[in-house]
Amino acid sequence: MEPALLVKNISKIYGQGENRVVAVDSVTLALARRELLLIMGPSGSGKTSLLSMMGCILRPTSGEIYIEGRRVSDLSEADLPDVRRHFLGFVFQAFNLFPALTAAENIELVLRLKRVDKAQSRVIARDLLARVGLAKRAHLYPADLSGGEKQRTALARALAGDPPIVLADEPTANLDSKTGKDIIGLLKALAEESGKAVAVVSHDPKVEALAHRIALLEDGKLMA
């Protein structure tokens, strides 16, 4: 079966000459639907660069990226936003919710970007919040939500528009142990029950325990 996301021999090199840093070095990695892939590695090993390239927000220095079988690494800057909109959902370490928008509106924002009409966006946003256990918190602003609730909202936002791939960067880093476990549980459920391809960058042993597969990066190289 064709992987949802495939990176083929990709590298990312920053700087030139003496300042040249190889952040990601010839990594080939496939992410299948119904899979929770954990990307691990020490600080500076290139995890975030790899995730950014998988998410089409950082252009690789060399190599190829395929999403749902379509080569996207050659697309122009003008075309990449469409790829991110329709195929990818992001969960960030610092949640990155809009403080001026309620939990529901944060989700509606993504749907509006995807040209879903206002009324339908509202319904979908409520459904997604219910799915992450926040049905009664939809009207609250991020400032009024706990860390766990913020991350659940961010997760619901990543699912808005039903992208096949979800990428999460240290999603449990700012959460307590129990809440972190809940979030990872939700991510795993997404993979197994909703058929999403989920990649998580994390140091968290809880994620390690729940991941289907682990990719270990060291000095930009894939070790396992």
């Binding site: 950082l58 990155n96 936002r157």
Partner: protein
């Protein structure tokens, strides 16, 4: 994206209030400056505008309506001799002193007109009729002079002094909204009465303006050119030419227009800067959010829409408030004797100027977004 722009703006209410106050103050300043300038220019050219004449003949090298010098009345025959001239008339302008009830003196602008033809007559009357000055020492004063002259009562007698030759005039009418640029109250009187008075002080047979109404289909510019050849000791203007000459004098040659223009320009720059500074600061503060927007698939253009929408909302709301303030104060300002004039077209034009200033300022924030790396959102 207007939705997001509104949400972001109204989420920070104090910042929004400060921005709106800044834009409003700036817009009020611009509107007031322009209104006073236009009001002054309207006063400076009101009599030309309201006189039914296509051609104005004046003394040589006249700068503006208010500074007319006398010349021979006989010139009117040469004006009438042109086949295109349907009718011609004379208007006198002189400055005298009106004796106030308390013994003080007030300089006034005296306009002598023909009450039969109405050329040069007051065009808006509160009490009485412009023809009432006919055949005697009668005068019409404008109601705007009341704060300086005291209450105006029909039938009251006023002593006017011209070249140290005082004469009594009876008030027979009160005009409305007719002011001179120099702010001297205007006294309208019968042309013959003023002409005789001038003759008595040694200026017989003199006039200040000869105005002509042309036959339908005549070309005013061509007639003016013909008259210029015919009258080398006079200046000849079309109606629009004389208005332009007067406006140019007050605006450019006195430096008054430049003062108004610079203040209005400064206010526009301040308004634009306030919006620009606010939006720029807001953009910097919300870079992470804009980066997130980029990461989740928003195009740069969509983020620009948020920023420009905020500038437009600021301009519309600030200008709207300023309009309310200016329109509310208009009556009070005019009653205080300050010339004040704004039309719908001027309101629209000034809004466009302020809007462009706000959009121009917001453009600086766009550069930040263009170079914003969405990878930054992955950093905790």
């Amino acid at each position: 994206m207007l939705w997001l722009a509104l949400k972001m703006l109204f989420h920070e209410k104090i910042r929004l209030a400060i921005t709106l106050i800044g834009i409003t103050v700036s817009a009020v300043l611009v509107l007031v400056q322009v209104a006073i300038y236009l009001g002054s220019m309207r006063n400076a050219t009101a009599l030309i505008l309201h006189t039914d004449a296509d051609i104005w003949v004046t003394s040589r090298n006249i700068q503006t309506f208010d500074f007319a010098l006398p010349f021979s009345e006989e010139v009117i025959d040469r004006v009438r001799a042109l086949p295109e001239v349907e009718r011609a008339g004379k208007i006198l302008l002189a400055y005298g002193n009106l004796k106030l009830p308390d013994g003080g003196l007030e300089q006034v602008q005296m306009i002598g007109y023909n009450p039969n033809t109405g050329l040069g007559a007051p065009w808006a009357m509160r009490v009485g009729n412009a023809a009432d000055v006919k055949g005697g020492d009668f005068m019409i004063l404008d109601e705007s002079a009341e704060p300086r002259l005291g209450p105006l009562t029909i039938g009251s007698n006023w002593e006017l002094d011209f070249a140290n030759r005082p004469q009594s005039f009876k008030l027979v009418g009160i005009s409305q909204g007719i002011r001179s640029f120099t702010t001297s109250p205007i006294v309208f009187m019968d042309y013959n009465a003023l002409s005789q008075w001038m003759a008595d002080v040694g200026w017989p047979g003199q006039t200040a303006f000869i105005v002509a109404k042309l036959r339908p289909g005549s070309n005013a510019s061509r007639v003016a050119a013909a008259l210029r050849r015919e009258l080398p000791d006079n200046d000849v203007f079309t109606r629009d030419g004389f208005i332009a000459k007067s406006v140019k004098y007050w605006t450019i040659e006195t430096g008054l227009g430049m003062a108004f223009f610079l203040t209005a320009l400064l206010a526009t720059v301040i308004g634009g800067s306030i919006v620009g500074q606010t939006i720029y600061a807001s953009t910097i503060e919300h870079l992470r959010e804009f980066g997130t927007l980029k990461a989740i698939g928003a195009r740069n253009g969509e983020i620009y829409q948020v920023i420009f929408s905020q500038a437009v909302i600021g301009a519309v709301a600030g200008y709207g408030l300023a309009t309310v303030v200016v329109l509310s104060a208009e009556g009070t300002v005019e009653r205080a004797g300050v010339p004040f004039h704004l039309s719908a077209a001027v309101f629209v034009a000034l809004f466009v100027v302020l809007l462009l200033a706000c959009l121009g300022s917001a453009y600086f924030s766009v550069g930040k977004i263009r170079t914003l790396d969405p990878v930054s959102v992955f950093k905790g």
